[in-house]
């Protein structure tokens, strides 16, 4: 069982300090973007990470890929703690771990041809050159459903969905094991989103890929993930298998989140129960003690105000961070 875990996140926190003062800067507080998170991802599975803005899901994604170095904690990739690695070793490790970014316009260098973009990982990590690069590029283009004849075009000549395919091709170039998908479809039109989701699924089964799928759209996450983790203000509040989460959600935030997602069916909508959260999320700077959700929670009790709950298992692979679950 241990060997099946590809990514193991242990007690990771990412704090951004806030300084005040002009001459002698002193720290007045921390923004706790990610606060003591534990997470593990098995080989071949898709873990969905949902949360709203400020939940820390994007920051966590960046910590896992080491675009940010966590303030504390350990992240094991194939058994090795990548937070403690030297820069050069880390660069090599990157071969196994790639990212697909959110913005199909901004994540591609506008002055590089599609061919160059897609083959850059090969240039950085392998000795493949010349014809070898071209054949690999053709292969990658075909894999993501793009016409190899467009290789010499520039990003602005592709549509949004096609650019995202380029980003996927780039991520696949050096056969990674693990791909972090950071909101890969939020910037795309609805009719194109489905194309990309299907593509990601196909690639996963073809190459036995492991995905961390970060998104705020619950319907999409439910569709593509095997397990789902819900984040709120830097902490994980619930983790469960996809179907368990949607049928048996236990954390009040998860329940509210699920009820807030509108379903494209007026009949169903008319009969659904709606839980409207009151208030706004507190600022991540001055977080109240206790459970970070208690101010908006309708079930809040005394203990919730004082003590922060820990993630505990309440069912098969179903973890919740709530005193009342």
């Amino acid at each position: 069982m241990e060997n099946n875990v590809l990514i193991d996140v242990k007690n990771v926190s990412m704090y951004f300090p806030i300084f005040k003062g002009l001459i002698r800067k002193h720290k007045i507080a921390d923004i706790k973007a990610v606060d003591r998170v534990d997470l593990s991802i098995d080989r071949g599975e898709t873990l969905g990470l949902v949360g709203e803005s400020g939940s820390g899901k994007t920051t966590l994604g960046r910590c896992i890929t080491q675009l940010l170095t966590p303030t504390s904690g350990e992240i094991f990739f194939e058994g090795v703690d990548i937070c403690k690695m030297k820069k050069e070793d880390l660069r090599l490790r990157r071969q196994g771990m790639q990212i697909i970014f959110q913005d199909p316009f901004d994540s591609l260098n506008p002055r590089m041809s599609a061919f160059k973009i897609v083959t850059e990982p090969l240039i950085v990590h392998t000795t493949t050159r010349g014809q070898g690069l071209v054949s690999r590029a053709v292969e990658l283009f075909r894999l993501v459903g793009l016409d190899p004849g467009m290789m010499n075009r520039y990003p602005h000549e592709f549509s949004g969905g096609q650019r995202q395919r380029l980003g996927i091709a780039r991520a696949l170039a050096i056969n990674p094991k693990f791909i972090v998908c950071d909101e890969p479809i939020s910037a795309l039109d609805v009719s194109i989103q489905a194309q990309i989701i299907n593509l990601l699924e196909d690639l996963q089964s073809k190459f036995d890929l492991t995905y961390l799928f970060i998104a705020h759209d619950l319907s999409v996450v439910r569709h593509i993930s095997h397990r789902v983790a819900v984040m709120y203000l830097g902490r994980i509040v619930e983790v469960a298998n996809r179907d368990d989460l949607y049928k048996f959600a236990r954390h009040p935030y998860t329940v509210a989140l699920l009820s807030a997602v509108p379903i494209p069916d007026p009949e169903v909508e008319a009969t659904r129960e709606r839980i409207i959260l009151k208030g706004d999320p507190p600022s991540p700077i001055n977080m109240p003690p206790g459970c970070n959700f208690h101010k908006r929670c309708s079930l809040c009790t005394d203990i919730c105000r004082k003590e922060a709950p820990r993630l505990r298992e309440i069912g098969h692979k179903h973890l919740v961070s709530c005193h009342l679950a």
């Binding site: 675009l67 660069r91 990157r94 990212i99 602005h156």
Partner: protein, 291 residues
């Protein structure tokens, strides 16, 4: 599943052609482009175009009015003004290119390093730039000339040095805005080294403001060289430099205005041309281009 592209999107523009198209739309920019091209032709092909030897003097013909042999007349030493103007273009071209090269080759890397590495490096380089900028450009140039002596090389060197801080600032702000883009993060996530990121990702995308600035700077460089030449601090005689020619013809303006007027006009037209082109390029290379 193969994606097919709908008809409108298959045009294969190169970015260069798109830029040219945008420039061509503004008549002033086109005028600037034409002037600049003429200037370049004059400068590059001077020996083939000039009708006479620019250095050959003939005192008996001093201040001669325009004639068929000498379409713009002769100057105070009887030399052909047209030929001197054409060779003068060559001098100005050379001055301009060297000045810009110094500015770019030193200023741009400074700006890039400053922006990319940030922190202390940025702080130190920026203070250095600030110091250079406290001197008005021409004062700095004069200062350097005072230290190094007059002469063409020193003029170019001095003016070149004084343009370094401008390019450094420009490239720094350009790089800073690029640093936040996702494709830089993507390059990092692939495992690209710093040098690769700078050369392949940052540099190509930060060139636009530098191109615009260099075009405008050509104009400035030519003007400064002319100004210094006019003050007698630039090239040494008998080199046909427009500013020096202006100086030479100054005292004869009442009797033989052509001696000073034609070089003066050339300075004006050339500087105008580069400015118009630079403005046109600035608009054409606007980020609205979505490239």
């Amino acid at each position: 599943m193969e994606d097919t592209i709908s008809q409108g999107e298959t045009k294969q523009w190169s970015q260069f052609r798109e830029v040219f198209r945008r420039v061509a739309k503004r008549k002033t920019a086109m005028l600037g482009l034409i002037i600049v091209i003429l200037f370049l032709i004059l400068g590059l092909f001077a020996p083939l175009i000039a009708p006479n030897n620019p250095l050959e003097h003939s005192l008996q013909h001093m201040l001669a009015k325009p004639s068929i042999d000498h379409p713009l007349g002769r100057d105070e030493l009887g030399r052909c003004i047209l030929s001197r103007i054409i060779y003068g273009a060559r001098i100005s071209l050379m001055i301009g290119l060297i000045v810009i090269s110094i500015g770019i080759l030193i200023g741009v890397p400074l700006g890039i390093i400053s922006a990319y590495y940030g922190g202390k490096t940025d702080f130190i380089i920026q203070r250095f730039i600030d110091t250079m900028l406290t001197f008005p450009g021409i004062l700095l140039a004069l200062l350097l000339i005072a230290m190094l002596g007059v002469g063409l090389q020193n003029v170019m060197f001095a003016v070149g040095i004084s343009t370094i801080p401008i390019y450094a600032r420009l490239s720094r702000s350009s790089v800073l805005s690029i640093m936040g883009r996702q494709y830089i993060e993507a390059a990092r996530s692939i495992g690209a080294s710093d040098s690769r990121i700078i050369l392949h990702h940052i540099l190509p995308n930060s060139l636009s403001p530098i191109i615009v600035q260099s075009t405008l700077h050509m104009a400035t460089a030519i003007l400064w060289a002319a100004g210094l030449g006019f003050l007698g601090l630039g090239v040494s005689p008998p080199t046909p430099e427009w500013g020096a020619m202006l100086n030479g013809g100054r005292q004869y303006i009442r009797v033989a205005y052509h001696v000073a007027t034609f070089p003066g006009m050339m300075i004006f037209i050339t500087v105008l041309g580069f400015n118009l082109l630079g403005d046109g390029l600035r608009d054409a290379l606007d980020p609205r281009l979505k490239i």
